[in-house]
Structures are given as structure tokens and as C-alpha cells.
């Protein structure tokens, strides 16, 4: 089976032989020893004898790959699906955000804009308090506010949409 792994801007073609579990990375043979530690939760991998540990969790149509000091997001599909996607031109990676989302859970302290308002790059939009620190979320690009979805005093979850741009 051939899998296409998209990790940030990188794309890898990984071939796994169903019976022997021989692995090729972009056509290059890699000696893999893949074990499950801690009841299957932790993937221990020796890739050409170099050791790595990962936790891999399904998330938003892809997978979160936690390594010991951080997190990577990847999409894994088989080659057939990848070709189909390319033909359809509907890679999930191409979507652009037209909204401001909460980068962390917290409490809205102040909304600095209203619907219809034009903002420039760097303008303050919403102040969210988290861990007792006030964080001002600013506009990444110029635009017009279409809708404000939160109000002061409101608790917000991570990735909750706060503001929608036109």
C-alpha cells in the first residue's frame, strides 16, 4: 500500500508492503522497527536504527503527531485518494481563513471593533484574558468586519470563531 503524507509544505510518498512491512520513503528503503508501548498509546519507532517516540491521534480529518517536545499535524491518504483529490482540486490544505479564531481558551475582556468597520493590518480586534494575562488579538491583514460573534464577559473555547471578515 502506498500512502501520501502531507506534513506542512512537505509531501512524502511512503510504501508499506502489507506482508513483510518493508517500508520505502520516497523510493528509498528504510529499515523500520515499529512497536507499541504503554498499551498501544505510544509508538516507538526505530527508523534505520534512529529512535523516535510519538503519540498519534486522529484530529480534524488528519492526525496530530506528538513528539517529545511538540506537535505536528499531518494528513495521510492512500495514493488512490491522493490522485482523486488532485483531479478534483479539493485538497483540504488550500482553505483560507476568513475569520478570527480564539488562539486559546479564555475570557473576552473587550471587543474593539463592530460590524461594518474597516480595519488595517495590526489593528486591535478583541482582547482575551487567559491565565490572568490580557492578550490583544490583532488583524493579520486589512479587511472589513462582517460579524462580531462574542461580547465582553463571554468565555470562549480554543478555535471558537470570534469575528468574521467580509
Amino acid at each position: 500500500m502506498i500512502y501520501i503524507v502531507t506534513l506542512g509544505e512537505r509531501k512524502f510518498e511512503i510504501e508499506i508492503d502489507g506482508d513483510s512491512l518493508a517500508v520505502k520513503l520516497n523510493g528509498r528503503q528504510v529499515a523500520i522497527d515499529h512497536r507499541f508501548l504503554r498499551g498501544g498509546k505510544l509508538h516507538s519507532i526505530l527508523a534505520d536504527n534512529a529512535g523516535f517516540e510519538f503519540e498519534i491521534i486522529r484530529s480534524n480529518g488528519g492526525i496530530d503527531i506528538w513528539h517529545g517536545s511538540g506537535q505536528l499535524y499531518a494528513e495521510v491518504v492512500d495514493q488512490k485518494t491522493d490522485r482523486l483529490r488532485q483531479m478534483m482540486g479539493s485538497s483540504a490544505a488550500g482553505q483560507t481563513a476568513s475569520s478570527l479564531k480564539a488562539p486559546m481558551p479564555g475570557l473576552v475582556v473587550k471587543v474593539e471593533v463592530e460590524a461594518g468597520q474597516r480595519v488595517n493590518k495590526g489593528d486591535g480586534l478583541v482582547i482575551v484574558e487567559a491565565m490572568k494575562m490580557e492578550n490583544e488579538l490583532r488583524a493579520h491583514a486589512p479587511g472589513v468586519i462582517k460579524e462580531v460573534r462574542v461580547e465582553p464577559g463571554q468565555a470562549v473555547e480554543k478555535n471558537q470563531v470570534l469575528i468574521i471578515f467580509e
Binding site: M1, Y3, V5, L7, G8, R10, F12, I14, I16, G18, V23, L25, V30, I32, H34, R38, K41, L42, H43, I45, A47, A50, F52, E53, F54, E55, I56, I63, I65, W66, H67, G68, S69, G70, Q71, L72, A74, V76, P103, M104, P105, G106, V109, E129, A130, M131, K132, M133, E134, N135, K158
Partner: protein
């Protein structure tokens, strides 16, 4: 000596103090808010008492509840840790009034040092050098502007009751003053319940160097060398070390004596820290005195061999210091990295979640002070610090190498963290050269730093292997379902045999 001590805190510092109690054979009493029922400090204490819901304003900050727990548990003393009520003079006074020993300085010293303006003028009188600025609170933007014109931009607006970077704003030019004053006041009001502010000259690229002092109730006060705490983000320390690469023996003595003078002026007893700003010409200015055990106290413990938390308890029990100034030697070099649940690539914003994999480093010269364990949750309610990782070596370069080794052993999954950030700082040639300042991170840290190529490749391989594994498991499970169990098959045939069923008509 006490039989039982209440620790009025949570997290790693509660664990640290519980350990000091147990080292002295003293029973430790913990308290906890609702979400902290399973926290490490509760698990390690001898007794634990609930004190209310998650928000600290309804639990860890409620003086009456804490005094009540001390009474009910029979604790003779309370250790406040850091943060929460540690620098609250009213709390120290409430302990005294209830006949419970507050393990810390007298309320009068907390009050004087807690009012940053009162502290500044007291230090000026004691001939301790201070940063130019105001000695009175300032009400309006115009007054701030007038001061700024006289001492020159940039200026720093600070909360009179402040600390930990809260209620603090830098102003580079006049138009920024209004929003900076508003933000500083609002943050100060919610953090300290006091929105008075004052103004100081903002020093370009200063170092933050602090002196640990410890004083007993018999009039002896000793300085335990300095800590360099210049590596900061959002005005909060992330890496501390002792000794400072800048400080030589002459400067150490000068700063140490100034710190002792500051402590004596305040009538200080117990452990405290005098913070200074310093420039590369080895001038230094009093910044503030922290009237508590500092987060970064372990670096001093490692290089002096003195257990500060334990000494705090001894001093509170009325005992004399067990050492004199001449006994203090600085042995090797120690570094602390604060491991935070935060995302350095996204403005160091705090993150939350379950520590799904959590494995602490160990081995020679490594110490981890933490209040978590695998499976514990980092919640929105409290400080996002996961642990303090410390490395001790015979000199600075050995300590750095050892810290990098320890960071490499650390495994934290499930919550974004700053381990890679620490590695990047420790590997930076300017850090290795000891050229640090409070602007180090904005000058030298690249948040877009790439994940190492071999790790990305291995992660891609792991992703494909996991997907392959999941698909095979699913098809195996699906295959089983098409074939009913043999028990069912035999039961069915027996029923058919025993019935008169002759098939469909």
C-alpha cells in the same frame, strides 16, 4: 519546631514545600480547589482539605477559608509558597492574629516592599541605587507624559502593587500613553485589586540580576549570591542561572551588601530576593524586593548547597541561621528552564490539555520540580507552568550541556510546550557567550525555527505506519463480524433440528 504545617498553595511549589516539611519530619497539610482534587500536592500531603471552586478568587485566595483549614487541621504554621497570598500583608497579619506562624517576613516588611513606590523611596534613603522615575502614584495621561518628557522615552508604566509583569506596559512615544495607561490599570485592578500606577525610565537592554537573602529573627542576614534572570518573555522569566556571567566577586559583594541593607531597612526576616537591573558596565539599580520564596530559588540551592525552603521553616520556628556569610561558597553553575504549557511559535500563548505522555528527565546533576504527572490536566484556571527543570555542572558550559541533555530526555505530549524553545536559546552562540539581556528573546529567537529534518521524516513514517495499522485492524474486525461465533452456529442448528421447521412453504 512545628509538628504540622499547612501549605496555602498548589502546583510545584506546594510539592516543594511538602518535601521540605517531610525532610524535617513535619506533617504537611494541603488544600485544594475542586479541579485539584487529584493534583500531585494533594497526593503527597498527609492531609488535604477542599476550599472551594476552581477560580482562585473563590478558593486559594480566600484568607478566611485558609485560616479555617489551619485551625481544623491543627497546623501551627502556614507556608504561602509564591503567588496567591504569598505577598499579601493582610494574610500574614490574619495568620498572626489567629496565633498561626506565617512562614515568611513580618506583615510590615511585605507592606513596605509590596508598595513599589514606598519601597523606592525607602531604598533611596538607605543609599541603595534606584532607577530614575516617579516616587508618587500618577493619575492621568498628561502627568505620565510630563514625566516621560523629563526622563526621556522609552518609559515603563508599572502597577504600584505589581509583580510578575502584570500591569506593566512600555511606552515609546506620546500617542501610546493612553492605551498603555488603560491596559496597565485594568490589568492591575484585576490582578491586585489596586489600579495605582507609576512611571520608571525604561533601560535599554538591561540585565535582570537578583540577590537571594535570608535573615533570621535574631538579627543575622546573609546574602546567597546572585541569580541572572535576564531571559524573559512577556516580562516573565523563563531561564535563570547562578552565578551570573556578568557578576565578578567585587560586584557580587557590592550587590550583596546593598541587598542586605535593603532587607535591614525593611526589618526583614526569612528568605527574600532583592531584584536589580544591571548594565554591562556593572552599574545596578534596585528594582523591587520579592518578599517570598522565588520560583527560581532552586538554582541558588544547587550552587550554595542550602535548602531554602527548609531554612524558611527553621527560621519561622525561631531558630538561628545555621551558617554565616563566610560559610557561603558558590559551587559550580546551575541553570533553570521553566517548562511552560505554551506555544512559542504563536506569541507564547498558553495552551491547555491532558499530559497524555509525561516523562521527566533524571540522572546526575538534574533536578525537576514539578506538580504534575502523566494523565494530569493543564487547565485554564491556573498558571501554565508544567515544571522547573534544573541542571548543575562544574562550570557554565557543563551546565548548559547537561541542560540540553535533560531537555532531550523530557517527553511531554498532549500539551504544547516550550522545550524546543529552551533548546534553541541554550544552543545560541550569544547565550553561550553570556551576552544576555531582557531583550534576548526578541533579538535572537526565531519562532519560525524549523523542525529538524530527521524528525519530520520520522513523523511522516510514523503517520503512514499508524494509518496502515488502523486500516488492518479495522479490516480484521470487519472480517470477524461476517462470521458468527461457533457457539451461535451450533445453537441455531440445534434449534432447527428440534423444531418441526420444514423450510419455507
Amino acid at each position: 519546631m512545628f509538628d504540622k504545617i499547612l501549605i496555602a498553595n498548589r502546583g510545584e511549589i506546594a510539592v516543594r514545600v511538602i518535601r521540605a516539611c517531610h525532610d524535617l519530619g513535619i506533617r504537611a497539610v494541603a488544600l485544594f480547589s475542586e479541579p485539584d482534587r487529584g493534583a500531585l500536592h494533594v497526593r503527597l500531603a498527609d492531609e488535604a482539605f477542599p476550599i472551594g471552586p476552581a477560580p482562585s478568587s473563590e478558593s486559594y485566595l480566600v484568607i478566611e477559608k485558609i485560616i479555617d483549614v489551619a485551625r481544623r487541621s491543627g497546623a501551627q504554621a502556614i507556608h504561602p509558597g509564591y503567588g496567591f497570598l504569598a505577598e499579601n500583608a493582610a494574610f500574614a497579619q490574619a495568620c498572626n492574629d489567629a496565633g498561626i506562624v506565617f512562614i515568611g517576613p513580618p506583615p510590615s516588611a511585605i507592606k513596605m516592599m509590596g508598595d513599589k513606590m514606598a519601597a523606592r523611596s525607602a531604598m533611596k534613603k538607605a543609599n541603595v541605587p534606584i532607577v530614575p522615575g516617579t516616587e508618587e502614584p500618577i493619575d492621568d495621561e498628561n502627568a505620565v507624559s510630563a514625566i516621560a518628557e523629563s526622563i526621556g522615552y522609552p518609559i515603563l508604566i508599572k502597577a504600584a502593587a505589581g509583580g510578575g509583569g502584570k500591569g506593566m506596559r512600555i511606552v515609546h512615544e506620546r500617542p501610546e500613553i493612553n492605551s498603555a495607561v488603560r491596559a496597565a490599570r485594568s490589568e492591575a485592578r484585576s490582578a491586585f485589586g489596586d489600579d495605582r500606577i507609576y512611571v520608571e525610565k525604561y533601560l535599554a537592554r538591561p540585565r535582570h540580576i537578583e540577590i537571594q537573602i535570608i535573615a533570621d529573627s535574631h538579627g543575622d542576614c546573609v546574602y546567597l549570591g546572585e541569580r541572572e534572570c535576564s531571559i524573559q518573555r512577556r516580562h516573565q522569566k523563563v531561564i535563570e542561572e547562578a552565578p551570573s556571567p556578568l557578576v565578578n566577586p567585587a560586584m557580587r559583594k557590592k550587590m550583596g551588601l546593598a541587598a542586605v541593607a535593603a532587607a535591614k531597612t525593611a526589618g526583614y526576616v526569612n528568605a527574600g530576593t532583592v531584584e536589580f537591573l544591571a548594565d554591562n558596565d556593572r552599574n545596578f539599580y534596585f528594582l523591587e524586593m520579592n518578599t517570598r520564596l522565588q520560583v527560581e530559588h532552586p538554582v541558588t540551592e544547587l550552587v550554595t548547597g542550602i535548602d531554602l525552603a527548609l531554612e524558611q521553616i527553621r527560621i519561622a520556628a525561631g531558630e538561628k541561621l545555621s551558617f554565616t556569610q563566610d560559610d557561603i561558597r558558590i559551587n559550580g553553575h546551575a541553570i533553570e528552564c521553566r517548562i511552560y504549557a505554551e506555544d512559542p511559535s504563536n506569541g507564547f500563548l498558553p495552551s491547555t490539555g491532558i499530559l497524555s505522555t509525561y516523562h521527566e528527565p533524571a540522572g546526575p546533576g538534574v533536578r525537576v520540580d514539578s506538580g504534575v504527572y502523566e494523565g494530569a490536566e493543564i487547565s485554564v484556571y491556573y498558571d501554565p507552568m508544567i515544571s522547573k527543570l534544573l541542571a548543575h555542572g562544574k562550570d557554565r558550559s557543563r551546565a548548559i550541556a547537561r541542560m540540553l541533555r535533560a531537555l532531550g530526555e523530557y517527553r511531554i505530549m498532549g500539551v504544547a510546550n516550550n522545550i524546543e524553545f529552551h533548546k534553541a536559546i541554550l544552543r545560541h552562540p550569544e547565550f553561550a557567550a553570556g551576552h544576555v539581556s531582557t531583550h534576548f528573546i526578541e533579538m535572537h529567537y526565531d519562532p519560525a525555527a524549523k523542525t529538524p529534518e530527521n524528525l519530520v521524516e520520522a513523523a511522516a513514517l510514523a503517520g503512514a505506519l499508524a494509518e496502515h495499522h488502523w486500516r488492518n485492524k479495522l479490516s480484521m474486525a470487519g472480517g470477524k463480524r461476517t462470521q458468527p461465533s461457533r457457539w451461535k452456529l451450533s445453537a441455531r442448528s440445534r434449534i432447527l433440528k428440534n423444531s418441526n421447521y420444514k423450510g419455507r412453504p
